[in-house]
Structure formats: structure tokens, C-alpha cells
Symmetry: C2
Subunit: 221 residues, 2 copies
């Protein structure tokens, strides 16, 4: 396959980077792989609106330039797409875009706008990292009907990863996506039956405090 060589030919590292990941959808593919390996269909789901043709093309390009690898389990039809180390190191780029958008381009979901909880959690992480001074270690397990996520702080910064249902954490939250979304925007108004928060008392209090602390960032229209 002939790679589309849409270059800038500037002697500039910004331009060089954008030659590799500046195409439409590329950085969104990377955004979704930053939380862990995913299959073609998982990506199609999160990248609402992309056509399979474009997703195929982007994955090929990212593979060709060494940012993604395609793992095919022998005998299985499934393909797991995974970031290489160089791909993972685009995390700061995606974080910077995320934080700027949260401050300057955030609004409530439009009617019919697809909402994936993984992206909402990405916003939560950025808001905690930038607006609260609290970076003490923590492990929060968030359980949704279709996915499990681990939100954790290593003592310096918070991060998000897809995880398995067996994880041990100091706070475990079980909710539907809708209930969790409403909880983020209006913590006090969400009835208890819709969202279940368990764990060590202090850890739960800290969780609730941090969510309240970012409400005016994440909840602004």
C-alpha cells in the first residue's frame, strides 16, 4: 500500500509530528488506544462517525510508522491494536489537547451526540490533575455495564486505563453510564440506588470531595 505522503517539509519538529499524526482521526485513534489495547470493533464504537475504510487506513499508517502494532492471536480472528512505546509517549500531546478543550471548548452533550464514558473519564482525569492539588496515591475501580476502568494516581499524576473486573481498589463505583454522568454534573442530586460507591470510608470521602471539586470545570455548559 502506498502511504499517503502529505508532508509539510519544514525543518520543524512540530510539523514533523503533524505529518505523522495530524491527519483527521489519527489522534483520536491514539486517544482511544492510550487507555489500553482495543479491537477494530471497539475502536469503531468509540470513534463514532468514522468509516471502516478510514479506520483501516489510519491503523495501517500508524502501524507503518511504528506507533501501533497489530497483535493477532494465532488461530483467533481477533486483532488487538496496541500502542508502541513511541505511541504511548503521545500521551502528553493528547493530555494538552484535552485540557485546552476542557477550558475553552467544553459544552453539554448535544442531542444525539454519542457519549462514551471513557472520554468522559478522560475529562475527569485532566480536571483532577489540573485543578486539585491532590495527587496522593489512589485506586478507583469504576464498573459500568459494558466496561471496567481503573482511575489511579501514582503520587504524581492521575491516569486512566481500561481494566478487568477483578481489580482491587480503595474505592469501587458501580453505575450505569447515565447515572455516572449525572453524578458528575450534579453529585448531590443523584439518587443512591443509581450509583453505588463502596470502599474505605476516608477513600470514599476523598472520591466524593474530588468529584465535587471538579464539578465547575467538567460541569460547565
Amino acid at each position: 500500500m502506498i502511504r499517503n505522503v502529505r508532508t509539510y517539509n519544514h525543518f520543524c519538529a512540530v510539523a514533523r509530528t503533524l505529518e505523522l499524526v495530524g491527519d483527521r482521526w489519527s489522534l483520536l485513534v491514539i486517544r482511544d488506544l492510550l487507555t489500553g489495547p482495543k479491537r477494530f470493533t471497539d475502536l469503531m464504537e468509540r470513534l463514532a462517525g468514522i468509516t471502516p475504510k478510514t479506520l483501516t487506513q489510519r491503523l495501517r499508517e500508524l502501524t507503518d510508522i511504528g506507533l501501533v502494532t497489530a497483535d493477532r492471536a494465532p488461530g483467533r480472528r481477533e486483532v488487538q491494536y496496541r500502542l508502541t512505546d513511541a505511541g504511548q509517549e503521545l500521551g502528553p500531546v493528547v493530555d494538552a489537547l484535552n485540557w485546552w478543550g476542557l477550558q475553552h471548548a467544553w459544552r453539554w452533550p448535544q442531542p444525539g451526540e454519542p457519549l462514551h464514558v471513557e472520554h468522559l473519564l478522560g475529562a475527569v482525569i485532566q480536571a483532577i490533575n489540573h485543578t486539585t492539588g491532590d495527587h496522593q496515591p489512589a485506586r478507583w475501580h469504576l464498573r459500568f455495564p459494558d466496561d471496567d476502568y481503573l482511575v489511579e494516581s501514582d503520587g504524581h499524576r492521575w491516569s486512566l486505563a481500561a481494566t478487568d473486573p477483578q481489580v482491587r481498589a480503595d474505592v469501587t463505583v458501580t453505575a450505569t453510564v447515565e447515572a455516572f454522568t449525572q453524578y458528575l454534573f450534579a453529585p448531590a442530586a443523584t439518587p443512591e440506588p443509581d450509583i453505588d460507591i463502596v470502599g474505605n470510608t476516608k477513600a470514599v470521602q476523598r472520591f466524593k470531595r474530588l468529584i465535587r471539586a471538579i464539578a465547575d470545570v467538567v460541569g460547565t455548559p
Copy 2:
């Protein structure tokens, strides 16, 4: 004018940001405005390869969404394009792209590849910020035949700005673009007549030390 509404419609701050600045050339226009206001022709020069049509379109879009303002001096035909505060705050995004590119996509200039010293200095700044631990305040005045730049550290991070010839600094460097480029890649091999470095002795030594310290980052093929 009908704005190009190429949206993703994801409930995601990364996607929102890319809807605004993810088009081809947009972030490069912002890169060049981050060092100070520029005229249409100044931008054409730095954005080698862009067509005037596309530059006009990008400037209109960025103006419409509030990231750029066009200042027209009354009676004069000149237009100064300038970033708004929201536009300036894209600095961290451009920095992240710059640093990633420096680590993963850097190579010597291709034959015939346009080289603008402003972009080279952008790489220098990133390298100093990330690889040396030295963030003590400093002011370096770099004088080239056509442009003057100020490289300075405020005690926390280094930054680059276009400036005027009258600036007072602790180090003043006068050189052609070619000599300065060669000096960056091979400091010891550049003959003195081609590059003039003056100022306080300690400051000059520090300048030379920092340039040598980043040679293996900026000078890697």
C-alpha cells in the same frame, strides 16, 4: 463565509479541540503566532508550501472561533495577526508536539527543505527545557540578518519570542542562519568569525554549556 463544519460530534474535549485546530496547517499557523504577532507575508514565509488561499482560510477560521485577531492600523494596508489569550494557551499543545517530534521524528534537513531559524530555535528551547535541569533566569539576544529573537528563562521554563534589536540581554549572539545552524550541530567546529557571542563571561559560558548539552538531542540525524 460558511465555516467548514468538519466536526466529530463526540462528547470529548480532545475531539472538540481538534475540531477547532485539527485542520491541516492550523496548528502551524498557531506555532508561528506563538512567538509574536505577524503579517500575512511573514506567515507565508514561515509556512513554506501553504497557498495564500489556504492561509487566508485558516486565519479567517481561527479569527471566527476567537483564537486570532487581525489588527489593521488605520490608513495602513498592513494587517498584524495576533493570538488571543485562548490562542496563546495552545502553547502547551504545540510544545508537546514539538518535544515528541524532537524525540521521535527528528532528522537532518532534507536537500531543499526550507529552514526557518525560528523553528530551529523552537527545537532548542524544547531541548533545554526537557534535558537540562537548568532553569535559572536568563536573557539571550539572538541577532540574525533578518530577525531578532529573545530566548529567555523566567526561572521556571524557557521561552522564545521575536523581539526588537534594542533589547538588553546577558548574552548577545550575532550570526547568519547558516552559521548558527552549524554551531548548534557542531559547536566546536564553527569558526569564530562566523558567529559572535558576547556578554558577561559567566553568562556566555553558560550559553555554550547549554548548547553543548543539547547537541545530542537537536543534532541527532
